[in-house]
Symmetry: C2
Subunit: 361 residues, 2 copies
């Protein structure tokens, strides 16, 4: 198996990404291609005295920055490390792609270069929230506006992911909403509630309010990308806020400071609990080959985890199962359309024949 890494992406590029690749190639049975500016990579190799003999290096002139527009990946920056990596993935020169770069560009590039799985209407970002139990949030920012069919597909793709990666037999799916009743929310949520309740293979547990999110209310939480992005970042922010407050408590007085010494190990456990990078990155579900978005602030360890996740993604055949579902989704939709056409024709015929019988009177 070969994983492609865009080492020019993220806040700690390229050093931490190269180091993450080096750890991964030691720990896992995997080949790794790193894509980036060779001159910059060589500087880092020299500075940090690294041995890249086990990695394949592919040169790319350009880099996509956080400020670049999504479509730059296929336009003015088509020589960027992200674009080169995605083209290699599309051409089968690797089995999965990891980038810590510009999310918008990664989604655009994955969709336009690697392409969606047939039948998938929208690819989405699936993020595992580090809470009481891991919970997959989808979409966490790729599609600001969605319809109920998109939400159904998110629910199904998310369920397949949680089953394959976390071994959850029948993942509970919830819809993020402003109340638990079936008729809560905007028309979108009401329609999606109906659909999620009816579709076979989705274990829908109903609407989930914000306050239930931290407490393992479901395994897969579906929502539009706007609300999902707000939720994801609030959870991240509150986690940091918690640690800051906890630290404040533990060092606020001398008694507290002394008492805190006995708690150091526990505090580390809490810190690890809220560290999203333990789960790797966020997969873009619905793309025909695995693309993993690592957090922009990823260090070597987070990149190693994202690579482990990419390996699991490939090995567990997630995309095969998504494809089976989405082809079936398309087939059912076509059947539905066919039925509607036939009914419309019948209605027309009935109208005509009643007209004729009127005329013959």
């Amino acid at each position: 198996m070969r994983i492609i890494i865009d080492v020019m992406s993220g806040d700690n590029a390229p050093a931490e990404l190269i180091k993450g690749a080096l750890i991964a190639v030691e720990e896992f049975p995997v080949d790794i291609t790193i894509v980036g500016d060779e001159t910059i990579i060589e500087d880092i190799v020299e500075r940090d005295n690294l041995d890249l003999s086990r990695l394949t290096i592919v040169h790319a002139d350009d880099v996509i920055n956080m400020e670049d527009k999504p479509l730059s990946v296929v336009r003015d920056k088509s020589n960027s490390s992200m674009s080169v990596g995605l083209r290699m993935l599309a051409a089968g020169e690797g089995d999965a792609f990891v980038s810590a770069g510009n999310t918008g560009a990664l989604i655009a590039g994955a969709t336009l270069i690697v392409r969606r799985i047939k039948g998938v209407q929208r690819a989405g970002i699936a993020t595992v929230l580090p809470l009481e139990k891991p919970m997959l949030l989808m979409d966490s920012g790729a599609n600001l506006v969605v319809n109920e069919e998109n939400l159904e597909q998110f629910a199904m793709m998310g369920s397949i992911y949680m089953k394959k990666i976390f071994g959850i037999e029948s993942p509970k799916v919830g819809q993020l909403n402003n109340g638990t009743e079936y008729n809560k929310g905007l028309p979108l949520q009401v329609e999606a509630y109906k659909r999620l309740s009816e579709v076979e293979g989705i274990n829908f547990v109903g609407n989930i309010e914000g306050k239930e999110v931290p407490f393992a209310a479901c395994d897969v939480l579906v929502t539009d990308g706007f609300t999902g992005n707000i939720l994801l970042k609030v959870v991240e922010g509150m986690g940091k806020f918690m640690l800051k407050t906890l630290k404040g408590v533990l060092t606020s007085t001398l008694t507290a400071k002394i008492s805190a010494l006995g708690l150091l190990g526990q505090v580390k456990t809490v810190k690890k609990k809220f560290d999203a990078s333990e789960y790797g990155g966020a997969p873009l579900l619905g793309i025909s080959r695995p693309v993993i978005k690592a957090h922009g602030s990823s260090d070597a360890n987070a990149i190693k985890n994202a690579i482990r996740q990419a390996i699991q993604f490939v090995n567990t055949g997630i995309n095969v199962e998504i494809a089976e579902y989405s082809v079936e989704f398309d087939r059912k939709k076509e059947e539905e359309r066919q039925r509607e056409r036939e009914e419309a024709e019948k209605a027309k015929e009935a109208e005509n024949s009643s007209k004729e019988s009127d005329d013959s009177k």
Copy 2:
């Protein structure tokens, strides 16, 4: 000053609400009218041996439950304690109204019975989030769909509230969004960004991402009621989650347990920090007389705080300032419309005269 309390509302009705009123009437220079079912109130008085001689009691037959539809407040349940209290407020038989009941019904009742301030397009729920610094979130659930004019009004009403109640001279206003750049979000957020930047009297600091919310990014955070409701409840849920995790840490091992003894006081401080009820309830801003929504789980202390807040609301003349703004808002809008009409007429005249000159050729 007279405050009206709907004592039949919330999870702990009526006992905790009556007790809250009793504490308030001792602590503050205020008269209080409690509205509710006299038989039930008398039972509580007997059971808990209370002395209600300093309160005025007004009987109401019915109670609005959490399951009741918003419009029940003016329809089948117009004899409820909430409806009776709101009618008293509208008639000037009290200066402010506090209820811990059904939020939808309270908004509908406040809007239909007490009425909005002239020029205010939508009343909204303004909730103070207990974070690093108090931050006012508006709207936190009254209006699932809003437009940019509504968001401007929320920003202004929220600013007036934070100035008057928290003494912040020029409150910083932020817009909740999925990124900080001016062009982030849906068309609504882009339009509102422009408007919030331009309107005089609003100290707009830009878009705020979810991760900045806990860290005093602004004093007033504006958003639609759907996203606001999700945010509010996630913050609430994460606060509870944090305390649960902290408790887990402090009792996980014997060493931790012993160390924790020195931290008991600090833990209480944290708990208090995340206790929204310390700030009282959530005012419905834009209603012509002060209506305060107390949390459904309010105990006597939270009700006392909501009453203190109602007193401050009245004393600081928040509604006078909101009215001055909204009348001006209406005047400017009328001017704008007038200008548009005149321009349209001029364009028409110009067209006609060019037509005439064409005809005369």
